[in-house]
């Protein structure tokens, strides 16, 4: 499989805190990689660096083999990297259609710049088509305000937005947080669909069960470093938990027996 995203020796400090020390990883086409780690392990710093929330101090980022620099969220999006943050991806007071195209609004009279009128017909049609394609058009109207949607519906909207813009890399930050069982399954199904459609997914989650359900590979971070990288087929729940906490749980279990 072709390499889509490669991070080499990324470093980031906040004052005297070294949040990221020499983090390197590779993401290939059409694979789901789970990024695991305890609170403060550096997962958030890593994905924020990739999505352009803040620049890295040192290290290189390659997209499809080409070295790039990502300093703003816009630059990340233009490189095909879409990030879906927990709870912060949508504007609740805007309609679904307006959220789907936020920052990339279809307009008439483009020369008017920010004063250009929105192409409302196109906005609506494209939004409806998208909702239909991802299979949620029956329940949702493109003009409905996002504030009227459930958490799972919001995640579906955010994910479908990322898919719509044909993002090469989709980063999901705790996508199943605060979701019910049904909604969680919906989101995980989405992740599988994304992979099937050729997108690469970097999944950040606390729920290891979900990882085993959808991920191809697992990357574990601890104290700003990547400490392990394994394919899901070659590992099990217990050893992954050991890697996250840094304690050898399976040895402990054996001793207990």
């Amino acid at each position: 499989m072709q390499e889509v995203l490669r991070l080499q020796n990324l470093q980031k400090s906040f004052g005297s805190v070294r949040a990221l020390k020499n983090a390197s990883l590779t993401l290939r086409e059409g694979e789901v990689v789970a990024l695991l780690g305890d609170n403060g392990a550096g997962k958030s710093t890593l994905i924020k660096a990739i999505s352009g929330v803040f620049p890295i101090d040192r290290g290189d980022i390659y997209v499809r083999g080409e070295k790039v620099s990502i300093r703003t969220t816009r630059e990340a999006m233009d490189l095909g990297i879409e990030t879906i943050h927990q709870d912060t991806s949508l504007a609740p007071d805007l309609s679904i259609a307006r959220n789907l195209f936020l920052g990339r609004e279809p307009v008439n009279l483009k020369w008017l710049g920010v004063f250009a009128p929105l192409d409302l017909a196109k906005l609506r049609d494209a939004a409806s088509a998208l909702l239909k394609r991802v299979g949620i058009s029956k329940k949702l109207d493109a003009d409905a305000l996002v504030s009227t949607l459930s958490g799972g519906e919001r995640q579906s909207i955010a994910i479908s937005r990322a898919m719509q813009f044909a993002a090469k890399v989709i980063i999901l930050d705790e996508p199943t947080n605060n979701l019910g069982v049904e909604e969680t399954h919906g989101v995980l199904r989405f992740v599988k669909e994304m992979r099937a459609a050729g997108h690469s997914v970097l999944l950040i989650t606390h729920n290891i069960h979900h990882v085993f359900e959808v991920a191809d590979r697992i990357i574990v971070m601890r104290r700003g470093e990547i400490v392990a990288e394994q394919t899901v087929a070659d590992t099990d729940l217990l050893s992954v938990e050991s890697l996250i906490t840094g304690a050898d749980l399976s040895a402990l279990m054996k001793r207990a027996q």
Partner: protein
Amino acid sequence: MRSPQFSSFVILIVLLVVFAVADGNFLSPLNISNMMAFLPELGIIALGMTLLLTAGEFDLSVGAVFGLAPVVVMLLVQNAGVDIGVALLAGLLLCIAIGAINGVIVTKIGISSFLVTLSMLLIVRGAALYITQGFPLKSWDQPGFFVTLLAGSFNVGAFRFYTSLWWFIGLSLFAVYVLRYAKLGNWISAIGSNRNAAVARGVPADAVKVWLFILTSVLAGLAGMISAFRISAASPVAGTGYELEVIAMVVVGGTALTGGRGTILGTIVGALMLRAIRNGIVLVGVPGLAYNIFVGVIILAMLILHALLQKSAARSW
């Protein structure tokens, strides 16, 4: 039907009917002309404030800017012999600078707009008082292009209107267009609704906010000049308390103080309502000093109504 601007509109109609019944002169051409002369001056500021509030910020310095801008213009003309056109341009630049300073401090240093613009209110009002030594100035009253542009008047039948009404109508149409139909309006609402989401989509949230601070400041200065030209006097204390009256107009119209939901039509209704209350209460014989009690009660009632409507709307989902 449950939209806040609609309920505000209904209340406005009720108020108008009550005042009209209570006093036959309320709807007389003279009184309507009177209301329409005052309306644009606060209304123009309210338009800028609506956009700013929708983006999640507000500006308490507008009343002070309303006072300072014409004072500076008149001082330049009368004491420094500057041409009126150049002086007006200088006043405009001053407003741009005040708005830009507000915006940059709020967005780049991250201090809340309440604190920043409260400080700016004191600085700007203090500056107006100091440079005039507290005395009002005689305003520019020689007929000419600028007087006609800002404070010309015309008759429609028995009604007498000022050109400021055209300014208000024109700026209102522009604001409605921007907020509802332009790409910028989508950004403004998104920034106020969830700034992080907007930034994550590549919306330049800080730049938009700085421009809205500038716009609000410029509109406050424009309104101040319109007022000064109309009454032929520029007072350093003009516009005192306008910031709160303007914010009241905006929230009574249904714009959310917390950002994300803004309505220009609601603001126009809110501006008409506060103007009608101020005028009607005097006509029906409420003592002028009791005016604020009524305004406060009506604003509070409107806000309670909006909150209840929103609650029932949330339940029906």
